[in-house]
Amino acid sequence: MSNANYTATGEISRTSTWKFILSELKPKGKLLTPFNIISIPIIITGIILIVIRFWKGIGSITNLTQEVPWGLWIGFDVVTGVAFAGGAYVITFMVYILNMKKFHSIVRVTVLNGFLAYLFYAGALLLDLGRPWNVVNPIIGNSFGTSSVLFLVAWHFLLYMIAELIEFSPAVAEWLGARRAQRILSGMTLGAVIFGITLSTLHQSGLGALFLMAKDKIHPLWYSEFIPIMFFVSSTFAGLSMVIFEGSVSHRVFSDQISESNRKSHHGILHSLSKICAVAMFAYFTLNVLVFVHEKRWSLLNTPMGYWYLTEMIGFVLLPMILYFISYRKRHITLIKIAALITMAGIIINRLNVTVIGFKWDAATHYYPSWMEITVTLAVIFTEIWIFRWVIRRMPVLREATGPIDKTVQ
């Protein structure tokens, strides 16, 4: 079915491009799938809540306080979401910089995932801004707060989204049948990749650096001057675990899009990724141990927060790291997927520990997200998946590109 579609796409003339886009906007496939039945009510509730939020203020639907000004929307949507989007820069690094062609079949879907993650999770940031009409101030105008880490992160989000859009644009051009544009855009890939990796290095660590000034507010087990490095290192395996997870789901849900050869090579890809994850997690774990020992934190261990720290480090870093090692040795695909799930849970726990759970841990009253904050977060995630699915069904993302092949990789 998809192939038939594609042939149609390839032959359309330039004048009918808009007509073609309009026709493509219509949903394909069944409407009443379990995913749709769950996601549609949540998205609608989310939209209603967002309207209330802009009408009555942020406090009307969130539990944020004067002491805890950043909650789930920053700690999960932005900080955790961006870590999961880290797969794009790692995979483009391997494919375009190290010329590891093995991973080429997953580049497009990973970049698409990364781009949408930034679009939606950085977009979710707008919901959290009290005065969003001033959001352009750090970009245009004369209000550059250059001493701010957030200034750097804001610029990087913007530039990185552009870089990822360029990286993904050949697929869009191919979908529209614009061969010439596709050739030009493909030529820009390497530049965009180099720029994108540089930006990613800085803003993945920058998200950690945001919390450097909150020195007295974050539990000492999670605060150190090395937060930026920790965030950067963990973003590599966070992103790759997301790639493993997303790949496994896509291979099931979009199996009609995937060619036989890619299906076969996918196990090999997962296998290599598990090894990379294991090594990155080993580095991350060692860094954590070094910081722990260097800062002489033994006395903090025998406290409730200490047990929580041990749970994170042993249950959600050491354990999945070992699982990744074992699954690599034994070529065990299911184990890789389990390790990826535990790693992802660990990243969520880690980012929330720094941003929400360990933030003002000693305050009299704690922050818990309201059901409305959680619903809006879910609505954002579901909307992203809807867009992802829409693109996958139409553009050559999972299926083989038939147009002029990416020159830089060949």
């Binding site: 000004p69 010329n99 801004l129 009290g130 750097l152 390497l190 530049g191």
Partner: protein, 291 residues
């Protein structure tokens, strides 16, 4: 392998863009050493807890007047919030009941100002830290960063403001003292240059060693603050954080921010080099012949 024209321009473009972006991201200049900031000296041995400063502050800034039932009582901490920029609290200490006024500390090198990506939080050269509505995008990073938890946000407004003491900046600009100092009936609050105030505080401690705890809170905390405090008892008894670092908070992010331009210059070069190096190993030789 020699570099051809196309890859040269490619490299040039990448470097150019990154240099242009990189130069924008630099740490803000420190306030010059010789800038004479104004400040306030608060002497808790003089304060009688009349809350006159709270009323004057509310009136001067168009905020609701404090309730007459909401009096400072030892053991109950009254907090600043979006409707009150300053509060008086009472503490039961080893030397009897002591009143303490809280408000923005107006740090010499404020975390909120360094945190602000739109320069809405501004350390004025006179010393007060003020907030500018036209610049602020409401991200609340100032609140996350402030070691004293001072900036307050209007969570229940569609057009929310950040509320915090601005040391009556409009008055200070004209050389008039802030309203709280002006109305204080017992002169517990003194306005002056920070240098004069520190000298005055030292003199008071020296002249009445029995009356004062030998410490000026704010002289070094967070790199020095505009508000300076004198107390009869150690500051831990008055709800002050005594573990704050003595260096400025923005210094914590300097290392990271200074690394940014280096990464922006080094990374693209290294990545391009790696790309070229591994390209030769590529098993597809046709491409090499092509280029």
């Amino acid at each position: 392998m020699s570099i051809d024209r196309r890859s040269f321009f490619k490299a040039l473009g990448v470097t150019g863009v990154t240099l242009a972006t990189g130069s924008r991201i630099s740490a803000a200049p420190q306030p010059a050493e010789n800038t004479e900031f104004v400040g306030m000296l608060y002497d808790s041995t003089r304060c009688v807890g009349c809350q006159g400063c709270e009323f004057a502050c509310a009136e001067a800034h168009g905020l609701p007047a404090p309730s007459f039932e909401d009096l400072p009582v030892a053991g109950q901490e009254r907090k600043m919030n979006e409707t009150r920029r300053t509060v008086i609290n009472a503490y039961q200490t080893s030397k009897g009941e002591v009143y303490v006024k809280r408000q923005c500390m107006h740090c010499n090198d404020p975390a909120c100002t360094a945190a602000c990506l739109t320069k809405a939080m501004l350390k004025n050269e006179e010393g007060p830290v003020s907030w500018r509505a036209g610049k602020c995008m409401g991200c609340r990073y100032c609140m996350v960063s402030c070691p004293f938890d001072v900036p307050k946000f209007e969570y229940h407004s569609a057009n929310p403001k950040i509320e915090k003491c601005d040391m009556c900046f409009e008055r200070v600009k004209q050389g008039i003292m802030p309203v709280c100092a002006e109305q204080c009936p017992v002169e517990a609050i003194v306005f002056g240059t920070r240098r004069e105030l520190i000298a005055e505080a030292r003199k008071r401690i020296h002249d009445n060693p029995g009356q004062y705890n030998d410490y000026i809170y704010g002289e070094h905390e967070a790199g020095g603050t505009g508000w300076l405090y004198l107390s009869p008892v150690p500051f831990g008894e008055l709800g002050f954080s005594t573990t704050l670092q003595k260096s400025s908070y923005p210094a914590l992010t300097k290392g990271f921010l200074y690394a940014v331009p280096s990464i922006f210059v080094l990374w693209p070069a290294i990545l391009l080099g790696l790309h070229q190096a591994t390209k030769d190993n590529s098993d597809n030789l046709n491409e090499d012949g092509d280029e």
